[in-house]
Amino acid sequence: MNFLKRTIPLIIAFVMGVTMALQYYVPHEVSQSLLKVVSRWGITIGGFAVFLGAYSLFHLHLTKIKRKLPGWGYSTFVFLGAGITIVFGLYNGGEFFWQDKQEGTMFEWIYFNVQVPAGATMFSILAFFMASAAYRTFRARTNEATILLIAAIIVMLGRVPIGTMISQYLPIAADWIMSVPNMAAKRGILIGVSIGAIATSLKIIFGIERAYLGGGD
């Protein structure tokens, strides 16, 4: 059992890790074909995993409804929404699902008039959260927060026409903050992240990091 759960996955991780790392340096068409095949495997596995996800989602909400857990009424919307969308998706404007996807169907209408606006609504909430987060950060309780506040005021004013009206140097100062100290910090983080990502990949390839397999050893 340990052989199947640990050894085999570690061997696969090692072989595929080394192969795909070397594949990056080999432009030969054999190498390109391998990349295509492996990418297709990923898509295929992802396709099967959708069923696992759907099972988890429906099972969770069905349990909530059955046990009348607090907020179970919201769970009925999961079945309602999914049911209506699946029915219209399969109906496919009268051509049924095995035909090519049809234009102007009810399925499309649901997507563009329900899902897209609902997503946009959630996204728009971000503006309000940004204001409250900015208020909390810019209270200037520490030296760092004060520097952040001053830098933010310069950048915000430098990016709008009123900034130029206050001083012609504000946009220049804003550009300098963005392209020098901000860029330097960003690149510093990126270099650290890249080295960390490579080291983590190596630990996985060589089987040193195996927590993702479950358990600690």
Partner: protein, 406 residues
């Protein structure tokens, strides 16, 4: 005896044969003096590189046209390339040479009726012409090339050497850690606070919520997040608290279920594991945000963990969590979202600290060894940056070529 039209035609013919120059709208078209085609180096065997010197006739309304054929004797009718004469200059040639890479097989297949016919590798012939309006003048030279597949991309040699060096460095320090396991690792307060945060959840009788970003299992940050999840699940099982893991990706969900289950078993509490607590909340970004925010508002988890790669949802999730009064610990390598987490969370692990978390929490010497290698790697890069900056300022630019992307 003399036919006037014939004399005119003959004169024009002789003129064009003798002088490959054509007057168009008062302007002469002078074709490039040279034209070469060769196999594109370090490619998949489909590319042919074309190179020719700039013509003195280049202007905004003149174009270069390259014709391709499989047969040297066949007419050159298929256009392989048509560009404005003042574009596609070869790098570092000071506008003196043009350079283009084309896929002749693909071009010929598209223009041919036998679209799907697979052909063996063969030589291609190219003819270059300069054109303006209806006038066209061909270069006298015919170029040919046979594309070949290569087994190594020499443009990536520097990258390969750096990769091998870093691999050697990591393996050396992992081996070193085996011999001397007491490596120093600096304090990461965000990870030290995990116990405190879980203790608070236990005292309050509220669940802890774990969110591992939007990326799939192919992302290193998600793997790092899952590694941390295993450690957190172990402590949660010991404390007998509820852990909820809201997923956006079904594969990440399956892996998380397995990891949490194993951690509960390792802690001797397999009975406390509830599979429904590691669930798929939604499969798209903003429905996921709505679902997780709803959980935070309704169930009021005492502790929220945001570990992995985040996009625009980071602030909505973290701000909602802050409003519910939860202790929040975030770890992300997404530098665009870091300011939002720093603003709204109690502790934030920045960038590479996300990858170091697993080693920090487990204190396994082998994992700690790789952290030392990371630090040495960063030290080398800092030295290269400083030395490279000084040398480039002094006019010596070879260091930048060493780190140039292929």
């Amino acid at each position: 005896m003399y036919n006037l039209p014939n004399i005119l035609i003959s004169t024009v013919f002789v003129f064009f044969c003798a002088f490959p120059v054509f007057a168009a709208g008062g302007k002469t078209l002078i074709p490039p003096t040279d034209f070469e085609a060769y196999d594109t180096p370090s490619d998949n065997g489909k590319g042919v590189s074309l190179r020719w010197p700039a013509s003195p006739s280049e202007s905004i309304d003149t174009e270069y046209v390259v014709f391709v054929s499989r047969n040297i004797d066949a007419p050159f009718v298929t256009e392989a390339l048509r560009i404005n004469s003042q574009t596609m200059y070869e790098d570092n040639s000071d506008f003196k040479y043009h350079y283009a890479e084309i896929d002749p097989e693909n071009i010929l297949r598209k223009s041919s009726a036998q679209n799907n016919q697979i052909r063996k590798k063969e030589k291609y012939y190219f003819k270059l012409a300069i054109t303006s309006g209806s006038s066209i003048v061909e270069t006298g030279k015919l170029a040919s090339a046979l594309p070949k597949s290569d087994w190594f991309d020499w443009k990536k040699l520097n990258n390969f050497v750096l990769m091998i060096s870093f691999v050697a460095l990591v393996l050396f320090f992992i081996n070193h850690a085996r011999k001397s396991p007491n490596l120093f690792i600096r304090k990461i307060s965000g990870l030290d606070a995990i116990d405190e945060a879980l203790g608070r959840a236990t005292e309050m009788g509220k669940p802890a919520l774990f969110v591992h970003g939007l990326n799939g299992m192919g992302s290193i940050s998600t793997i790092a997040a899952v590694n941390i999840l295993g450690k957190i699940a172990f402590r949660i099982a010991e404390y007998d608290t509820t852990l909820k893991v809201a997923n956006i990706d079904p594969i990440v969900m399956s892996v998380s279920q397995e990891v949490v289950k194993e951690s509960y078993m390792e802690a001797g509490r397999p009975d406390a594991y509830v599979e429904d607590n590691i669930f798929l909340a939604a499969s798209e970004q903003f429905p996921y945000v709505a679902a997780v925010s709803g959980i935070m508002v309704r169930e009021k988890p005492a502790t929220n963990f945001f570990m992995g790669y985040f996009y625009a949802e980071s602030l909505i999730l973290a701000e909602t969590g802050a409003n519910t009064g939860a202790i929040q610990i975030a770890a992300t390598d997404s530098y665009t979202q870091l300011p939002f987490f720093i603003t709204t969370c109690d502790y934030t692990l920045i960038g590479e600290e996300l990858y170091a978390a697993s080693a920090y929490l487990s204190r396994e010497p082998l994992l700690l060894g790789s952290l030392r290698a990371q630090d040495i790697g960063k030290g080398i890069l800092i030295v290269a940056l400083v030395v490279g900056t000084i040398l480039t300022t002094l006019g010596v630019g070879f260091v930048s070529y060493l780190f140039m992307a292929g």
